[in-house]
Symmetry: C2
Subunit: 648 residues, 2 copies
């Protein structure tokens, strides 16, 4: 664990340098600075209010754990929550400052703008991984008990749930609301300052795609490392434990190198997609090389093989996701728009469902091979492998919303159209990386859930199950239902909050004279408040569901029922998440494809049909789909904690 | 089994009387007779071509089984297929003759029309249940081995797959194609004879909703009885066996009484919904009463309890389905149409997903209680209970398409608008019974799959599973993916076939002068051929998938992998099927609600938005959703057969 501290310290220094470098840059003229500040404040106020909702929950849980497990468990839980909150808060603070700076850098060159926006993303990516391992080390030093790290992981999961669900509802309520009135009724272009919800929309990109995504992957990262450490120690002792630590360190240091390389190449870059891809692959190759050398030296090559499967399958899932959400597949989908919106929805749904096939087989392949080589430890370690370069992959992912925000600020501040062109080209790359990031988040969540399940089954004392015991099947049936029900809840939440938003926008346009002519400023704050309120109100029931269901099933059907619950929830959750993410991504890009002038271009019948697809895809890919990742991980970690408590 | 023969014989006599009574009725004037004949021929030619595709498959399988199991297995398989085919063929022959007769009866009174259309449905409902038990008895007498009945069940499953998938693709390709060009482009009303695809659309109702649904429930009926007989004999010997036989007989005889009661009340009926509901509930109450008396006499009241749970939960699932696809829920859904099609899709999706919650808990409740009382046998027997009154519930279900067809014929033949009013009111009731029928089909498929799984686990020799063996989870992951992939295949198939249909309709309108003015007759046959070809081409891959996946998993991961596969497929399949059926049903009725004059009525912005929902819902509820029922049952029965073969 001392290695975690040293690596963490190096990384912290690096993060601080990056952050200062970003803050040194000019945030532009008065208007861009002001816009950036409004977004900062909106995002900050959302996070603070979100904390107000879940801090009491966390503290209540900590007190509960204090009485039934002990003080160490409470502390571990609090460390897990606090570090995840810290990562989210700090990462977002920088991201919301990098947006105007990216817009201003874009007045100079594409390379400058790429450099600033990617630096902003890198702060988020590195902070998540660094605090992830530092918190883990701290928990270990405080508790001196590997198994208590499960409470650390539980804390991280809790934060992730609120951040992902709350952020997801916020971002889509604002987006859908802004689109419906702004684009459809008042005929305003995207990011027009006359649209009262325009700032809320930009805030949403940050709280959803930056803070939400970060908390999600923080949880996966921590959960997979925790599982691998426990299973490694269990089956291979010290040797297993230390191997996990090294793989994690190799991944983080390689990410640092990859980020530096990317930044060095960014300024002269003419092709942002290529630059980002190079950095990511380079970091992956470095990690694998280091792991190979390590396994060779300790004469345990199996470590390398398993990590290789994880890295490789993670990469393949990204590529498959790209294949399904761009190019030929999207062109075919766009073509159906000439027949009408219903055809777009049917074809897009079929596309997303079809994509579950290869991705599932890839995940299965990684699991089978890893299991054959290193048993359950192998399954967990391949998950660690897949997530090892999280530092850079999350950076690439978080860069997207910053570029998107920069475009919005450029538009609202009335900068030279050339600036918007640059930010648009960055944003387009961001859309692809976002789709790949979602595939990666799902794949890693699936592997993490599997690793946690392996952990659960190792400690649940149900090594021998009668397959004809129907409680396994019943647990699976109820578990399989939860992702569907959970998605219904989040979709309803987006719908309700969007409705409130639409009403508010309509009210402002009607009651505040001169909004549409640009003579008076809309009340941005009011829209931010509505999105915040809508999101906070609706994130409690899903959280309760995720915690209560394993507990209830345990008392009804025993550990075997909980095992079934986890299997069912993971299976149907992974499929639903893949389907929703890829359908949503494909619809988004089909709309863009038509907007490029195909099948009649903007304003045509085909365009309107693809807008319907895109609007349906919004909650699919940005709210319900990603929230499922958390649901299955939180249920798994809750089950593990439950088992350790019940065993006493 | 001799009881099956006696009851079957009584029922056959009754069916023949019913059939002759229908054929005695006038098929109306020259035009209605002619239209009915075209539909008959279209449906018949589709079935014959369908048989051409799957007879070779069945025979190949029979020969294969002859070599590795023996002649008895082959014969059982052939009996299962032949009896299912016979039931579908005969039931549809009568249904397609009852349509014009219903239209003509509607010129007299609502009661007459209800009587004829329900008689047509009753022939289908009774034929399916009667041939189901007669085939079972025959198989038993030929093989003298209870376990070989699994091959009988496999034969029925095969036919069901082709009938449901093929019929589902056919009906929606014709429907969607006819709607897109007819309603949207050429502004023709529903069922207008100038629409070249109008006959194909009417044929589709029969091959999809009559023959397809019949084969689906034939499979469930046979599968649940088979499982209950095997498990009953295994755990309780002769006593268990005979109890199942009696419950089945009580159900069938009660259905007969229920049908007679309904027919007696039909002629004077002013409220068809009430009349049908009364008959169904009456049959259920009779079955329960008879079962109670029987269990009391043999001093084994547990039989009654378990059957009661099955009947009761089956009824509740129907009511919940009705609740989600009508009334307040649908009005709220219709209200979102004022915001546009995307909101209709999102809200409808959320509605369908939400509906999985209660239905899953109800199924779980029935299983838990039955298991507590009678173990695995209880689970299977409650499935038999749910399906015991299939005779009348399928009659109510099959009556819908007949009334729908009658309306089409009345419209095309230019009968008095009052006739159409009567058939429309019958059709409206049919839509609700169809939605409830779908809920029932899913619920019973879930219980049948569970019963088959119990059967599988009892013979698979994996009574002791290590929960940490990842092959269980992997199997579940792959199994959970299949319903999604399967749905993608069937949705693509509908899309492709509908595209071909659209092109053909456009071609005819362009090339045959006078079609739109009604001066010349369109080439109906050509459209029928296109729908047939589209359906037949696309039903092979899904079938292969359902058979190969358990076999492959067995060789890769052993029986535990197959167990996981069944759990995963059932869990995600049931959820997907419930979601698709209820979203589809709600969209359909939301459109009708707007058409009644709400939110602007026909032709309004809101109406167009609900039409999008309805069109998306078509393949959801009539092709992909129902096909999943078959997939999970066929996989389960294939696994059982596989186990008996492997055990030697």
């Amino acid at each position: 664990m001392v290695y975690f501290l040293i690596t963490g310290a190096i990384s912290v220094v690096f993060i601080l340098i990056l952050a200062f470098k970003i803050l040194e840059k000019s945030s532009g003229n008065e208007r861009t600075t002001q816009l950036s500040e409004i977004i900062q404040k909106g995002a900050k106020s959302f996070l603070l209010q979100e904390y107000k909702v879940f801090f009491p929950v966390i503290f209540a849980l900590a007190i509960f754990l204090y009485f039934i497990v002990g003080i160490k468990a409470s502390i571990a839980l609090l460390i897990g929550s606090a570090f995840s909150v810290l990562a989210g808060y700090f990462g977002m603070a920088i991201a919301t400052r990098a947006n105007a700076r990216t817009a201003w850098a874009a007045t100079k060159s594409l390379g400058e703008a790429l450099s600033v926006s990617f630096s902003g993303g890198a702060v988020m990516g590195l902070t998540v991984s660094t605090l992830g391992i530092l918190g883990l080390a701290l928990t270990y030093y405080v508790t001196k008990d590997i198994e208590l790290i499960s409470y650390y992981s539980l804390g991280a999961s809790f934060v992730a749930l609120f951040a992902r669900v709350g952020g997801g509802i916020y971002t889509k309520a604002a987006d859908v609301g802004a689109d419906i009135v702004g684009k459809t009724e008042a005929n305003l272009p995207e990011d027009d300052p006359r649209n009262p919800a325009v700032i809320a929309d930009n805030v949403g990109d940050n709280v959803g795609d930056v803070a939400g995504m970060g908390a999600d992957l923080y949880e996966s990262y921590v959960g997979s490392i925790f599982s691998a450490i426990v299973l490694g120690s269990l089956f291979f002792g010290e040797k297993g434990f230390i191997s996990v630590v090294f793989v994690v360190i190799f991944g983080l240091l390689s990410s640092l190198v990859g980020i530096v390389t990317t930044l060095l190449r960014a300024k002269k870059s003419a092709d942002p997609a290529k630059t980002l891809r190079f950095g990511t692959i380079f970091a992956g190759v470095l990690t694998l090389t280091a792991t190979f050398v390590y396994s060779y030296l300790v004469n345990w090559l199996n470590i390398f093989y398993v990590v290789f499967f994880g890295v490789f399958v993670g990469l393949l899932i990204g590529l498959i996701t790209e294949w399904y959400t761009s190019g030929k597949k999207v062109e075919n989908l766009a073509k159906t728009s000439t027949m009408g919106p219903a055809n777009v929805i049917i074809s897009g749904t079929a596309l997303g469902m079809e994509s579950t096939f290869i991705i599932t087989l890839l995940i299965a392949l990684a699991v089978v091979l890893s299991y054959k080589i290193l048993g359950l430890f192998g399954v967990a370690l391949s998950g660690v492998g897949m997530l090892s370069t999280l530092g850079i992959s999350l950076s690439v992912d978080a860069y997207g919303p910053i570029a998107d925000n920069a475009g919005g600020i450029a538009q609202m501040a009335g900068l030279d159209p050339k600036v918007r062109e640059i930010t648009d080209s960055l944003d387009a790359v961001g859309n692809t990386t976002a789709a790949m990031g979602k595939g990666f988040a799902i794949g890693s969540a699936a592997l993490t859930a599997l690793a946690l399940f392996a952990n659960f089954s190792a400690i649940s004392n149900v090594s021998s199950v009668d397959l004809s015991n129907p409680y396994l099947f019943l647990g699976a049936l109820i578990g399989g239902m939860l992702p569907f029900f959970f998605s219904a809840l989040t979709m309803h939440a987006v719908g309700d909050a969007a409705d409130d938003m639409v009403e508010e926008i309509r009210r402002q346009i009607k009651e505040i004279p001169g909004i549409l002519s640009g003579e008076s400023t809309p009340d941005y704050q009011k829209c931010i408040q509505i999105a915040t309120k809508g999101a906070l109100k609706k994130m409690v029931l899903p959280a309760v569901l995720a915690i209560l269901s394993p507990t209830l099933l345990y008392f009804l059907f025993g550990p075997i029922g909980v095992g079934g619950l986890l299997i069912g929830a993971t299976v149907s959750g992974v499929m639903l998440a893949i389907f929703m993410a890829n359908s949503g991504g494909a619809w988004d890009n089909a709309k863009k494809f038509v907007e490029e002038g195909h099948f009649g271009g903007k304003g045509s019948f085909a365009h309107k049909a693809t807008v319907v697809g895109d609007t349906v895809g919004d909650p699919y890919k940005d709210t319900s789909g990603p929230s499922i990742n958390i649901l299955i991980k939180l249920m798994a970690i809750t089950s593990i904690v439950l088992m350790t408590i019940v065993r006493g």
